[in-house]
Amino acid sequence: MSVFLSSPFMHNIFAGLAQGIIYSLVALSLVIIWQSTHVLNFAQGAMAMIATYIGMTEIDRGIGYWWCVIISVLVGMALGGVTERVLIRPLYGKPEINPIVVMVGFLGFLEALAAAIWTSTTRNITEPFSQIYFKSNGHLVFLSSFIIFQIVLAMGIMLSVAALFRFTKLGLQLRASALAPEVSRLLGVRVSRMLTIGWILSAGVGAIAAVIIASGNFGLFPTDMDGIFVASFIAAAVGGLESPLGAVAGGLIIGLAEQFILAYWSPDVAPLGGIIILVVALMIRPQGLFTKNTIRRV
């Protein structure tokens, strides 16, 4: 058993899942916003990056790791709420390319701002979890406390989000506002507040992903989230952008696929891996692999 666990194959599985779960988190955050406001938030990654950078300045002042996580998430949520109110709200009812352009502009702004304030260098958090692989009977098992922490934290967040939507009054109102805004208003649901809450929630989930990346070996660079965003968008699009479960599954698929292309094919073509998967997935099911509604034209 330990021989199997220490095989290169299992190494790729673990590494792919660890990376994929980050994509899943960001993809989930994209789906939350997409469902409520039909905006694909191109600045999602950059917002998470800024939030984490602010959290990291606090850790420099000597607060503990977990406080840094909490601050990053809270800052991310605040940023999400403000963004919806200031940048997105004026664009409801406008053509769909307007919010795309504005959020692309916001992406550029946040990245330039981060580089201006914190310089274009990698920053990381000294994580409380070891990155050294476990050993079992003398064989290396390609799991570390950090990878376990990463997967458990991400799973915990995703399950909490699922529980929120499924079991709480707030979740019911969020879903109703996304499905039928006018009817929801007639029933007394404060729909515009729900849209803001959707953004807040989504940005918080995104911030967790950036915190995890910043805690890892390679830290976080101002434009690092571009690649994460692209992979996560592909994950969400493969899942159909409508389905939270599809986004999570899509993230894991992309993470594993990237790892296996890297390991078994050629690292040179790895950048194209995501696109190839997206193209193939869209050819098979243009509406997304996990979307029930087959009539919707994509």
């Binding site: 515009s192 571009d226 692209v230």
Partner: protein, 358 residues
């Protein structure tokens, strides 16, 4: 800019040719009075204006949006660069055609799966493409030269042109001016083609598709083919612009084409006004002199240009301008010649899943 619009609006190919030739010659004359530094900036701006025009055509006329045009630029630039690196003496026209063809083909490859998508999906797909281009160029070192890129020496100032110059810096001045003139002529030709395209059957079909794709389909317009055409033309323009831009710099490197460049292109298009020739001209001018603008802002605000803030000032200014223009003047800083009324038509106050068509 109304004079420009009325000139380019001429109803016949012949009159458009005269109008474009007139404007090109006018710009050429202006380059004689500009200092060499400004000439170099203008040359870069002309190359970028070609790319912006292609993007503007795609967004303004076919209603599609692309964040991948920096990627198409890279494809054209590498196609031209790899060729020119090995065959420096090839006529420039051939190198440019190569860039157009490769740009167009890359556009076709992206367009085939993408034209079935709309709006956010398409934007995300093209972003994924441009994000993949830089690492690909870095990885395939044997072909692309990797990080260091390739050098080419194709823009040689002809001997007869040198006669116009004298003094200690004659060669350098002549070279800057020659580059600018060449870029302006290439841009003039591409603008002329686009002016004709705007007035062609394809152009009209494009607007119909943008405004009401169902009606267009009923009238016998092939939606997928029309959208694909728009994409290929846009990518070909980006390919040529990228090649010209790299030839002007005498090198092609992966770092010239980051995702940020696509954001810059979007900004220039939106500032100038989506879907117009004059918008692309204005975008090119803004790009040409953005360094001066940034230096001005830095000195006004007392920011040290070599500091972090100073180094990122352009990114900050451009993105803020993009956001503000889109929020408050989505038709750009000039009024549009071809009003995008339908593109910017009001939709119900809150988005409802049922009426969102992707």
């Amino acid at each position: 800019m109304d004079w420009f619009l009325s000139l380019t609006r001429q109803e016949t190919t012949h009159s458009r040719l005269i109008a474009m030739a007139f404007l090109t010659v006018l710009t050429l004359v202006i380059t004689f009075f500009l200092p060499p530094v400004a000439d170099s900036q203008l040359a870069g701006g002309a190359a970028i204006a070609i790319v912006v025009l292609g993007l503007s055509w795609l967004t303004g006329w076919s209603g599609q949006i692309s964040l991948g045009n920096s990627g198409f630029m890279a494809v054209g630039a590498y196609a031209a660069g790899i060729w020119a690196h090995h065959h420096a003496s090839t006529p420039l026209v051939f190198t440019f055609v190569l860039a157009i063809v490769f740009g167009g083909i890359s556009g076709l490859i992206i367009a085939i799966p993408s034209t079935r998508l709309r709006g956010p999906y398409l934007a995300g797909m093209t972003l994924a493409f441009s994000a993949a281009v830089t690492p690909l160029a870095q990885n395939f070192t044997s072909v692309t030269g990797g990080e260091g890129g390739l050098f080419m020496n194709s823009l040689v100032t002809p001997r007869w042109f040198l006669h116009f110059f004298s003094g200690p810096n004659a060669a350098i001045n002549a070279s800057a001016q020659w580059s600018a003139d060449l870029a302006v002529v290439v841009a003039g030709v591409m603008f002329f083609f686009m002016a004709n395209l705007f007035h062609s059957r394809t152009g009209r079909a494009m607007r119909l598709v943008r405004d009401n794709d169902v009606a267009a389909e009923l009238m016998g317009v092939n939606l997928a083919r029309t959208r694909t055409t728009a994409f290929v033309v846009s990518a070909a323009y980006a390919g040529l612009g990228g090649a010209l831009y790299s030839l002007l710099q005498a090198s092609v490197r992966p770092e010239t084409f980051p995702i940020g460049l696509s954001i810059t292109l979007l900004t220039l298009m939106v500032l100038g006004g989506i879907g117009t020739l004059s918008g692309a001209v204005i975008g090119g001018i803004i790009y040409s002199f953005s360094a001066n603008l940034v230096a001005h802002v830095n000195s006004l605000t007392g920011v040290n240009p070599t500091s972090n803030v100073g180094a990122n000032m352009q990114g900050i200014i451009f993105s803020v301008l993009l956001i503000l223009t889109m929020l408050f003047a989505p038709r750009g800083i000039v009024s549009l010649q071809y009003p995008l009324r339908r593109l910017f038509r009001a939709r119900p106050a809150t988005p409802t899943p049922k009426d969102v068509h992707l």
